[in-house]
């Protein structure tokens, strides 16, 4: 069953990918990218990766598409005709590489084989121990935030790096940009976006809260919740305009979220260290190690949510609030 679904969806995926590379219109390319992301997410879902599917949808199809579009507004819409000289040669080389790769995967374990090495070593420990050690059923959340919590700390700092990088490169940290501009007025003067969209903003936020706090029991967690929260604010900004969104969540608040979220995660880790455990060993936080872990996980998930939400928002606004003529080189 899974295999038939996959067969079908994966073939569509390849078709879309080729179409993406083929099209010259960058706008179409972005639209197709969002289809690509959705397809990828459905694939993840059929392969039992519910958490990843949620992330891919929220981040890949949602936020990435929006950021791409805002960046596209600041650059060119069409790709020029000529490719680089090497295109035919590289096509051949890559084609051969692809065949070699396919040949090399023959030894891979078959999809779904329960005796594959990945299913007999390490992973069973997580599946068997999670409930006992953490007291909640979502093993992905357990691995993410505790067994491999150090990776997740790194991930939060990757997002942090992206946020400060975009702000640094676009030099967009201060103020709300130049004076009010009509093209940033938003879509609120159109009836349908106003009626539907306006209603939705609080519900998206509510859903974000649900994903944040239900992450131990169902798919979700800080990362997805942060992305959904950011989506809600982006929705607001699309409807009401950049200025209104920046008044609601000013840049300083975004920065506070980023810094606060990353620091909260680090603080929990250091606290564990000070209380006699190793870094990020939440079990020392409380008398009962299981409750200690739960407290630690809720705290760091909150940190992840804050940092991700703040970062995505500051990245979005750095692009969206920028005027197409801002920062032009005089010589051009």
């Amino acid at each position: 069953m899974t295999i038939i679904f996959s067969l079908f969806l994966l073939t569509l995926l390849v078709i879309i990918a080729i179409a993406i590379v083929h099209t010259r219109n960058l706008f179409v390319c972005i639209a197709l990218m969002s289809i690509f992301s959705l397809l990828m997410a459905v694939n993840f879902f059929t392969l039992d990766a519910a958490d990843v599917a949620l992330t891919e949808a929220a981040v890949g199809a949602g936020v990435t598409t929006v950021i791409f579009l805002t960046a596209l507004r600041l650059t060119a819409r069409r790709e020029k005709r000529e490719g680089t000289k090497a295109s035919l040669l590289s096509l051949c080389v890559l084609g051969i590489t692809m065949l070699l790769l396919i040949y090399a995967t023959i030894d891979n374990p078959t999809l779904g084989d329960p005796n594959a090495p990945v299913h007999v070593h390490v992973a069973p420990y997580y599946l068997e121990q999670t409930y006992e050690l953490m007291g909640f059923p979502n093993v992905v959340t357990a691995v993410l935030s505790s067994f491999r919590g150090y990776d997740t700390l790194g991930e939060v700092f990757v997002v942090f790096a992206a946020a400060i990088g975009v702000l640094f490169i676009l030099d967009a940290r201060k103020g709300t940009g130049p004076e009010y501009r009509p093209e940033q007025a938003g879509l609120k003067h159109h009836l349908i976006p106003k009626a539907v969209g306006g209603l939705l903003v609080p519900f998206v936020m509510l859903f974000g809260l649900y994903v944040q706090f239900h992450g131990e029991y169902g798919p979700g967690g800080g990362f997805q919740a942060g992305a959904i929260f950011a989506t809600a604010v982006i929705l607001f900004s699309l409807l009401e305009g950049e200025q209104a969104a920046l008044r609601a969540v000013p840049r300083s608040a975004q920065m506070a979220l980023v810094v606060g979220g990353a620091s909260l995660y680090g603080f929990v880790g250091v606290l564990c260290l000070l209380m006699g455990g190793t870094f990020l060993d939440y079990s020392v936080l409380m008398q009962d190690p299981v409750i200690g872990r739960q407290v630690g996980i809720v705290a760091i998930e909150a940190g992840v949510g804050m940092a991700v939400c703040g970062s995505l928002l500051s990245i979005y606004h750095a692009f969206a609030a920028r005027h197409p003529m801002e920062g032009r080189d005089e010589s051009v």
Partner: protein, 119 residues
């Protein structure tokens, strides 16, 4: 090798194809945004490879069901890794786009050939 085994490797074939399609866009296309799009297809291919590993036939998503003691679950570990990798991908993409926007502002173009001629 029976049909089932061949189909069981289809995911990895698609991984190889997507990897190379993305790579092609990065190498052969002159538009910088197109290169970033290619890069993100390239990374998605890897996500697919990891997630394909996690599936157990007859298993379900690794969120334990209390009423179902004999239930098989798919492997949570690749999923955790890919959650991280997706974030890394978005972060790189955002940074890349910021650089492209600055390049457009300072050169007036984002076509590789024109950029090389500009300096």
């Amino acid at each position: 090798m029976n049909l089932f085994e061949v189909l069981g490797h289809y995911n990895y074939w698609v991984f190889s194809i997507l990897l190379m399609v993305g790579m092609y866009a990065v190498i052969a296309r002159g538009n910088l945004i197109k290169k970033l799009v290619g890069l993100s297809i390239f990374q998605s291919a890897v996500f697919l490879m990891y997630i394909s590993m996690d599936k157990v036939e007859g298993g379900t998503a690794p969120i334990l069901q209390s009423g179902n003691p004999g239930q098989l679950y798919s492997n949570p570990l690749p999923q955790v890794l890919i959650l991280t990798a997706i974030v890394v991908g978005v972060a790189t993409l955002a940074l890349g786009l910021a650089i492209v926007v600055r390049i457009h502002e300072r050169y007036g173009t984002i076509e590789e050939q024109e950029l090389l001629n500009a300096d």
